[in-house]
Amino acid sequence: MEITTGWYLVLGALLFVIGGTGLLIRRNPLVMLMCVELMLNGVNLSFVAFARQLDDIGGQTVVFFVLVVAAAEVVVGLGLLVAILRRQPGATADDLSALRG
């Protein structure tokens, strides 16, 4: 069986949906952060697949940017998490609503 671009796209979509669902239903902030990474990488996979099929380096370039931004985002996100959990050990996403309007 030949592995076509479609397979990659399906896998990417699956990863995105799993990440999105996880983000919505999980309460552990660390896991939610991982879910966001999952969504990002699902999209990255689609980009790479299209870049390959269309023979266009642009898609891979975008992935490169996404990876860098994701790395930066993780640094900030984890830093925030550590700080929050130090003040409120075992806090879940439902406990954190300090930015309520």
């Binding site: 999105g20 983000l23 919505l24 939610m32 996403a93 439902d94 954190l96 609503s97 300090a98 930015l99 309520r100 309007g101």
Partner: protein
């Protein structure tokens, strides 16, 4: 030598800085001597610059030297330099400003003796001299405006110098506020000139093509508003009589000899933009001011108030000259007036000093024995202002009356008003001299009036000398004797020439001298010999300056205050209300949608997901269609 011009304003500025830092350390009398030295050196440098300017050829246009310090406001097409302009006009002004200024500094050393704020007084005097020189030497309207505001501020400081007195503090405020009206005219005129000609520099304005008639007249009138504020013309004169609350040297320097002439200077400087229509208005207001103030001076009891109204009246003469196109006559009168009016004010200061701060002429009389030098010099000033030949006032006043006579539209009328003013001037000045120095003694023996110290009498003698021979700088009839006129000629595009024949000139001169002598005689008959009852000569209407001031106060205090309050209310309720209303509306809307911000991550994530889905649906819908 002309290059030294920058030193002229710098020296008083240095004196000011020195006194600002260490005035109290120097104390009395050293602070006074330092300030006097600064003013005197400034005068010497001005003389040097003057000699340098004389060395150049006037008719080849070389007697106009610009000294640029730096680019002050380089803003797009507007370029304003901090620069000085040395030409016959500015050097003439500077010579008497620094000369009379230095004498008054010297006089103040004696007059301010024992004042707790001794050094501060000289600090203000030096700052004033600096500002006045900036005004005179500035090579463009903006630098002149800097000096213009500077002298205004110094005038405020000096009028309310004894600010523990309620009246002095109020008088200072009044002068400041009234002058602001004039400053408004100056600013708008500057803007208009810049937008019409694209420059504010005097030499460039002088060489620019003429503005359109409407713009030219508007600019001229705005400049006249500015001049009317500083030079106390109708209807903005009200501050000057009150300004007499300041120490007498201030009245002499700021409010008689120098600052109040800056309006005349401004109009003469801008002579190339003044239009015929505007000149007519200037002449009429000048004549009206001269007559009005002379009438008011007739019935004053305060020795300084008489001189204050007299100053307004003489300034009216100068504007009458400008309005008649005789700029040289105006400057001539500025100079002679600076001599004899400074002399009269300093003399009155000497009297007040000797009488221990008594200013009411009804409590003086027969003082000539007690203070002979003051009396002698005051009499010289009186003869000069009354227009008795050969004293300086006669020559300049006569030239103004001749110019008024030759005015194209209403010449004889202006001349008649000027003549009546000359008569009144001679009358009220004689009344003053008689009330103060002659007649019966009306003071108690224990007042013990005394002659002032030499620092006060020296300036009196020097100024008396100048008041006697000052007319020599511009003697009529022989062409070569018109020194001032020939000197100032290069600054005018269309020099003014008298058209009347010699006979007319002589007849007019005889008539004006006769008017002066009649005034003196009436005063002698009524006040010295008591042949005419004097009660009727001081009508209440004139004593209260025709109630102009009171009317102003009532209007501004009544209708005016209501109007200002209404404006303030409009601002608070309508303008602020609109802005606050917008703010409140936004707050209300914010409160409405506030609950959507729950603070829970999940809610936001759902929002993003739903939004993304919605976009997908819309796109898909579009594709399907």
């Amino acid at each position: 030598m002309v290059e030294l011009v920058w030193l002229v304003p710098t020296l008083p500025l240095l004196g000011f800085c020195l006194l600002l830092v260490a005035g109290r350390v120097f104390g009395e009398p050293r602070a006074g001597w330092i300030a006097t030295a600064a003013a005197a050196t400034s005068f010497v440098v001005t003389l040097v610059v003057f000699v340098g300017l004389l060395g150049k050829d006037g008719h080849a246009g070389e007697r106009s030297y610009e000294f640029i310090l730096f680019d002050w406001l380089p803003a797009g097409s507007l370029k304003v330099e901090a620069g000085f302009l040395v030409d016959p006009l500015s050097i003439t002004m500077a010579l008497f400003v620094t000369g009379v200024g230095a004498l008054i500094h010297l006089y103040s050393i004696g007059y301010m003796h024992g004042d707790p704020k001794y050094s501060k007084f000289f600090l203000y005097l030096n700052l004033f001299l600096f500002s006045m020189l900036m005004l005179v030497f500035g090579n463009n309207l903006v630098v002149t405006f800097l000096g213009w505001e500077g002298v205004g501020a110094c005038s405020y400081f000096l009028i309310s110098f004894w600010h523990q007195k309620e009246s002095a503090a109020t008088a200072g405020k009044k002068a400041f506020v009234t002058n602001r009206v004039g400053d408004w005219g100056f600013m708008i005129a500057t803007f208009a000139i810049w937008s019409a000609l694209g420059t504010v520099t005097y030499t460039e304005i002088a060489n620019s093509p003429a503005m359109s008639a409407a713009t030219g007249t508007a600019v001229s009138l705005l400049l006249f508003v500015a001049a009317a504020g500083k030079s106390a013309q109708l209807p903005l004169y009200v501050w000057l009589p009150d300004a007499m609350e300041g120490p007498t040297p201030v009245s002499a320097m700021v409010h008689a000899a120098t600052m109040v002439t800056s309006g005349v200077y401004l109009l003469v400087r801008m002579n190339n933009v003044l239009t015929e229509d505007a000149l007519l208005i200037i002449a009429v207001i000048g004549a009206a001011t001269a007559l009005f103030a002379a009438l008011c001076a007739v019935a004053q009891h305060d020795i300084k108030k008489v001189l204050a109204y007299s100053t307004i009246s003489q300034l009216g003469y100068m504007f009458l000259a400008i309005g008649s196109g005789a700029y040289v006559a105006a400057i001539f009168h500025v100079i002679t007036h600076a001599f004899f009016k400074a002399l009269l004010f300093l003399g009155s200061g000497s009297v007040i000093h000797g009488m221990h701060d008594e200013q009411d002429m009804r409590k003086m009389g027969a003082l000539r024995a007690a203070m002979p030098i003051t009396a002698a010099t005051f009499i010289v000033g009186w003869l000069a202002i009354a227009g008795v030949p050969p004293f300086s006032g006669f020559w300049s006043k006569d030239e103004i009356l001749l110019a008024a006579w030759e005015q194209k539209n209403i010449g004889p009328l202006l001349w008649a008003v000027g003549l009546i003013t000359a008569f009144l001037t001679a009358y009220y000045m004689s009344r003053q001299v008689i009330l103060v120095f002659f007649g019966e003694q009306r003071w108690e023996e224990d007042v013990n009036p005394h002659e002032s110290t030499w620092t006060m009498t020296t300036p009196l003698c020097v100024l008396a000398g100048a008041a006697i021979v000052g007319g020599a700088i511009n003697l009529p009839l022989v062409k070569d004797w018109l020194i001032l006129e020939h000197f100032l000629e290069p600054i005018f595009h269309h020099p003014h020439h008298f058209s009347s024949g010699t006979t007319t000139k002589i007849v007019l001169a005889i008539v004006s001298v006769a008017a002066g002598l009649v005034g003196i005689s009436i005063a002698t008959l009524s006040w010295l010999m008591r042949r005419i009852p004097t009660e009727s000569l001081e009508p209440e209407l004139l004593e209260n300056a025709m109630y102009v001031d009171a009317t102003y106060a009532r209007v501004v205090g009544g209708v005016g205050t209501t109007g200002f309050q209404k404006t303030a209310d409009f601002d608070a309720e309508i303008v602020d209300g609109t802005i606050n209303g917008v703010g409140r509306l936004v707050m209300k809307l914010g409160q409405l949608i506030q609950p959507t911000q729950s603070g829970y991550m999940r809610n936001y994530a759902v929002g993003v997901a739903v939004g993304a889905l919605a976009i997908v649906v819309v796109l898909a819908w579009g594709l399907l269609l």
